[in-house]
């Protein structure tokens, strides 16, 4: 969408997990890009590969998972094949990460101040005193009251919402240009979720930080993201501007997903649902992975796998948008 | 019976057994140890307790494969001309007897008290568990030593010699019951709140009957695993006590006794008198332990 050179570019990414019973393909042919300052929402059911994509970008795939094909480029420079030490210098400094559960993301034995300062002194040319001053600033910025006193508190002395604010400060404190936020609000109370998302959105805009926001909460996406990628069974099903995908999804799966969001303005007797379940990684069907559940399935869907095709307002991996007329 | 055998070979247990080479080797080693011990009087090449057959000329013969070894004494002979291999087989018999008896004793005691504590709760529960806690603070070998020492002091010397074997069994059993009691108490606490127990209580089944015929069968599974793992420990405890000279009486030497006796000749170079019983002890304990580990993992992957 954006005309600027992309900050992050993922090209034909394929992640495999070798297991005793054969190789599982967790991600296949995933491509997308994020421009500087842009927020890309990534949605899909559990197990669709959203978090896996995030882990691949920050170079922390769980072994034995590995990138089997494709490239990840940051500022046009490949980062998927870097050595551990080179990638470590990028993590935190260029790409920050926010995890799902703030209760388990912070080390319980260190004060939040120590965790902030060690992150900053690792990546920035500043001394401990300066780092501590900035740590207090960051805690204030993420809305921790009495930051100067709370800096020496341990994580267990904060509530879940406050801890996620600390995690956000930790992700941003070395001023990265991209944040990979993996379900940052899922583990929080509903009343806190909106606050944390608003904070994240505000800080990203102030600092000009781009963000890959992984979530299954369509409300968060609609409110926060510029563009959205819908994932299904380890592939991108559809990608496009958030307004288009939410209102006029072109891929039958995205359409089904959007239809299952309860509308706020009228009562409905029954929510729409997609029949069946997403296939397990070991049993992904031939052709389009969605074909057994797709209401618009036709013969080609069961034989060939569609790439992302131009569907007008968005790009969708669906044979409905093949240039030649659907045959069959 | 036929069907039961078929069911066993179809079971997960048998499957996981055939898939683990370490377990198969352990089972073979354990079987050799146990069979050799049980049938020692019939298959041992010599009778080490038959004084008439002992000849001091045969004393200190090294193992058969060395230069001075004699073919009839495969693992050599000790200071009195006893065949080391035969002594090991008879000794393993005593070790196994004490180990199994002590484990059975600890199991019976632990299961009964654990069942009582778990089912009755209240003051009995607190008291029993407090005792467990205190006892578990001390290593079991220390408890066994103390019990052995106290019994030794309480009994006249002549009486003690006759029942020394039972004293050792008692001492080791006492030192290990808390593990069983804790396991059973834990599962009993879970079972007592299940519907079938409540149903039995509602229709007026007596407490003792509920405990024995309803709860017990459902809590016994983990106990079998703990017992198997405990067997190796009990054999080691016996060996340690006997090595320290306070275990089984010298008239019925166990592997530990043999090691202690042989230890005196280590310096004069007759290493085989002590090393071979040691190897036998390790083989027996290690194979039993590995079998126990396997059984634990195969029966319940979650039980650590």
């Amino acid at each position: 969408m954006s005309n600027a050179a992309p900050l992050l570019e993922v090209r034909n990414l394929r992640v495999e997990f070798p297991t005793r019973r054969g190789t599982l393909v967790a991600l296949d042919d995933v491509s997308f890009s994020i421009s500087p300052g842009e927020v890309l929402g990534v949605v899909g059911e559990s197990g669709a590969g959203k978090s896996m994509t995030g882990a691949a970008i920050i170079g922390l795939l769980e072994p034995p998972g590995r990138i089997a094909k494709g490239q990840i480029l940051l500022d046009g420079r490949r980062i998927d094949n870097l050595r551990y030490e080179q990638m470590r210098r990028i993590r935190g400094k260029e790409i920050g990460a926010i995890f799902q559960d703030p209760l388990t993301t912070l080390n319980p034995l260190y004060t939040v101040g120590r965790q902030l300062t060690e992150t900053m002194t690792t990546h920035l040319p500043i001394g401990p005193a300066e780092a501590r001053r900035r740590a207090i600033e960051w805690l204030e910025m993420v809305g921790i009251p009495a930051a100067a006193q709370r800096i020496d508190s341990y994580p267990h002395e904060f509530s879940g919402g406050m801890r996620q604010r600390v995690v956000i400060a930790l992700a941003l404190c070395a001023e990265p240009r991209l944040i990979v936020a993996d379900e940052p609000t899922t583990a929080l109370d509903v009343s806190i979720q909106a606050q944390v998302i608003a904070l994240l959105k505000r800080l990203a805009r102030e600092k000009g930080t781009a963000m890959m926001l992984v979530t299954h909460d369509m409300g968060v996406i609609a409110e926060t993201a510029d563009r959205v990628a819908v994932m299904y069974a380890g592939r991108v099903a559809e990608i496009g501007p958030v307004r288009e995908v939410v209102k006029h999804a072109n891929h039958p799966y995205s359409a089904g997903l959007m239809a299952s969001i309860p509308p706020l303005d009228r009562r409905v007797e029954r929510l729409a649902q997609i029949d069946g379940a997403m296939p397990r990684l070991s049993a992904i069907p031939r052709g389009c992975a969605y074909n057994p559940r797709c209401p618009k399935v036709f013969s080609r869907c069961a034989d060939e796998r569609p790439d992302l095709l131009d569907a007008g307002t968005t790009r969708a991996a669906c044979w409905l948008y093949a240039l030649e007329a659907p045959h069959g | 019976m036929d069907q039961a055998i078929r069911r066993f070979f179809d079971s997960d247990l048998w499957f996981s057994f055939t898939r683990s080479p370490v377990t198969i080797v352990s089972a073979i080693v354990a079987a050799i140890c146990i069979l050799g011990a049980v049938f020692a009087p019939w298959i041992a090449p010599h009778n080490p307790f038959d004084l008439a057959s002992l000849n001091l000329i045969d004393a200190f013969k090294p193992p058969a494969w060395t230069e001075e070894g004699a073919r009839e004494y495969v693992l050599g002979t000790d200071d009195q001309g006893r065949d080391v291999l035969s002594a090991i087989m008879y000794g393993a018999r005593v070790s196994l007897l004490v180990g199994i008896s002590a484990t059975v004793f600890a199991t019976l005691l632990g299961v009964s008290l654990g069942l009582l504590a778990g089912y009755l709760g209240g003051a009995i529960d607190s008291l029993l568990m407090r005792i467990c806690d205190i006892q578990l603070t001390f290593p079991s070998i220390l408890v066994a030593l103390l019990v052995d020492g106290v019994v030794r002091a309480a009994l006249p010397r002549e009486v003690h010699a006759d029942i020394a074997l039972f004293v050792v069994i008692f001492a080791i059993g006492i030192s290990e019951w808390p593990k069983f009691a804790r396991t059973v108490r834990g599962s009993t606490l879970v079972e007592r709140n299940k519907e079938y127990v409540q149903a039995a209580r509602v229709i007026g089944v007596p407490k003792a009957r509920i405990m024995v015929s309803h709860v017990l069968p459902n809590v016994i599974g983990p106990v079998l695993v703990v017992a198997t793992l405990n067997l190796g420990l009990a054999i080691l405890s016996e060996a340690t006590l006997s090595f320290l000279g306070v275990g089984v009486p010298p008239t019925q030497p166990s592997l530990g006794t043999l090691i202690r006796i042989g230890n005196d000749f280590l310096f004069s170079g007759e290493w085989w008198i002590t090393i071979f019983p040691g190897v036998a002890l390790i083989a027996m304990v290690l194979s039993v332990n590995l079998l126990g580990d396997w059984l634990r993992d195969a029966l319940n992957p979650k039980l650590r």
Binding site: G92, T122 | T137, P139, R152, A153, V246
Partner: protein, 327 residues
Amino acid sequence: MFAFIVSRIFQALPVLLAVALISFAMFAYVGDPVAIMLGQDYTQAQRDALVAELGLDRPFWVQFATFIGNAAQGEFGLSYRLSRPVADLIAERAPATLELAFTAAALALIVGVPMGVYTGLYRNSWPSRFFLTFSLIGVSLPTFLIGILLILVFAVWLGWLPSFGRGDTVALGGWTTGFLTLTGLKALVLPAITLGLFQLTLIMRLVRAEMLEVLRTDYIKFARARGLPNRAVHFGHALKNTLVPVITIVGLQLGAIIAFAIVTETVFQWPGMGLLFIQSVGAADIPVMSAYLLLISLVFVTINLIVDLLYYAVDPRLRIGRGKGGH
């Protein structure tokens, strides 16, 4: 902090009292101390006199209180076997056992923890596999066999190290130490390895298991995601979290070291409390046994207290009520 210590001491008291009761019951009721003290021939009058002198005619609780009072002053009566004050016997032997136990514990910790960290971090490397196999042997071998094997190899075959005794010792006040002489140090090597090996392998396996567990946690992943160097992640974040459970087990194992010193001291004829104890068990020497039991439980309780304090130092979650805001 102070309240914490006091509460822990109060929790330990029932254990000590229970052990004291057992000790006393052994002392007072097992065997016939009067007959043992008087020897073969005595008259009823002699017997009555001794019973009165020992206070055996007084009520149970009075005797128990007297026993505790005496024990607190280190007064445990005479050894039946050696006819000397038990307190003197133990005081003579304690330095040998404590030096041995200390060396063994230090060995187990200094070697066991780094090996555990290494095998946890690089679990598929070949040194890790070697250490693990080695540890399986360490866990399965009974202590006395390890001692015998070490004696056979290093004392009998190679002749490098002595196989029994403490070597030359130096008296420092009431304490005799083997740390200051060459023979003393050489004599310490084999017993310390024998006693420490089991604990070493146990600590290694424990640290490894905890390390593997901790490395899987979110906060370690997050520390990596923040781009912290491996050294900080492994030795700062991971190892410190590993310490919490390790401290508990190590504390318990220190107690076990003192208990297993009985076996090691027997193998190496090490003149410590354990050897004294085992000789007393053989001879049914009740005063020594009950004194040893009390002393050992005191040591255990002290170790538990230290463990609790270390816990408190390592894990901030235990420091409740520090007056730092809270939730």
